[in-house]
Amino acid sequence: MIYLELFLAFLKIGCFAFGGAYGAIPLIQEVVLSHSWIDPETLIYFIAVSESTPGPIMVNPATYVGSQQGGVFGAVAATVGVVLPSFIIILLVTAVFKGFLKNKNIQATLKGIKPALVGIIIATGVFMISDNLMRGPLVSRIVIDWRGAIILGLLTLAIVMQKKIFKKSLSPILLIVISACMGMMVYSI
């Protein structure tokens, strides 16, 4: 049954998503692609849509995939699935096991998970950017897509300029808007 399948898949994501939304992206990618619920391209567009719409970034993909696969009830099943683990855990931690997180064993486990997850997130970002720059089959990926390279270069320039001149970092939404405009120009040539 699709509802149960959606619920369980997103429950799994909710259980393992340490480090917030960015930690969840590799997991969402894996689950959604392995069920072939949406294709890799759409998923990336979708992360951008999530960044530009309000709300917790993790909830957005759940609602979207759920509604694509199973309508309103699918959306509800997936959304409840992704939220439920953190809801239950916080209830348990605040109401029942007050000292739970201070437990030595739990802390030791978390000390392993967190740094590894930082590595996983960075790897995901690096792969996504480089995947964008190269074309062709997997092994012989030496052809550089100059359009992607131009956009990456200009965006990096924009980020650095903003940092140096205004001493502020570029907001994610602004970055997405700029990149969208660049995409329209560069890919229409």
């Binding site: 990336i44 802390q107 978390l110 790897a123 792969f127």
Partner: protein, 204 residues
């Protein structure tokens, strides 16, 4: 009657937080801070810091963790349910509507080009989120004089990159489980936490 008022108030407040924060996570914490600490005085700002620390150590969206906590503090189980519902509901509705249009939207060629550009931005966003976490981690390591977390990070990075490049069939879930198990074995003996409250220093 009092109960009903607090329920309504929780619902309103968290729907507002859910509706008006773009970018998720820490952007939401800022709004929760101004709503729940400054305006409503539901929790203190120290408490909010504690919750953020707890949220970082538990899976799930940080903003949802905060909503559940504040709701529970104010009105028990039902309070936590209402607050959590409130923070999720706006994005649920928006996404549901977007999902009806996105596919057709992507078929328009100029929009498709726009999204090709956006792909690059998403990669940069993920990378910079990771780098921020890394910087925080390195600051903590310097304070504690430990190098082992860096080894975990580098291993996580390399393994994940290899999995991605060669499209290996190895689940990220196992990677997290293995990291947890190794952490359990390696950090447990070092007397991870000596005094109460150390967790806050660790995490903040």
């Amino acid at each position: 009657m009092k109960n009903k008022n607090i329920w309504l108030s929780l619902l309103q407040t968290f729907m507002k937080v859910g509706l008006f924060t773009f970018g998720g996570g820490y952007a939401m914490i800022a709004l929760i801070d101004s709503e729940c600490v400054d305006k409503k005085e539901w929790i203190t700002s120290d408490e909010l810091m504690d919750v953020t620390a707890i949220a970082e150590s538990t899976p799930g969206p940080i903003a949802i963790n905060c909503a559940t906590y504040v709701g529970y503090k104010q009105a028990g189980f039902w309070g936590s349910l209402i607050a959590t519902f409130g923070i999720v509901f706006p994005s649920f509705m928006i996404m549901y509507i977007v999902s009806m249009f996105l596919d057709h939207f992507l078929e328009i060629s100029i929009i498709a080009s726009a999204f090709k550009g956006i792909k690059v931005a998403v990669g940069i966003l993920i990378l910079s989120a990771g780098i921020k976490m890394l910087q925080k981690m390195i600051r903590q390591m310097k304070k504690q004089g430990k190098k082992l977390p860096l080894v975990f990070m580098v291993c996580g990075f390399l393994v994940m990159l290899i999995i991605d490049i060669f499209t290996l069939d190895f689940s990220t879930f196992y990677l997290i489980l293995i990291a947890g198990a190794l952490g359990f074995l390696l950090f447990r003996k070092g007397g991870a936490i000596k005094k109460r409250g150390a967790i806050h220093n660790d995490l903040s």
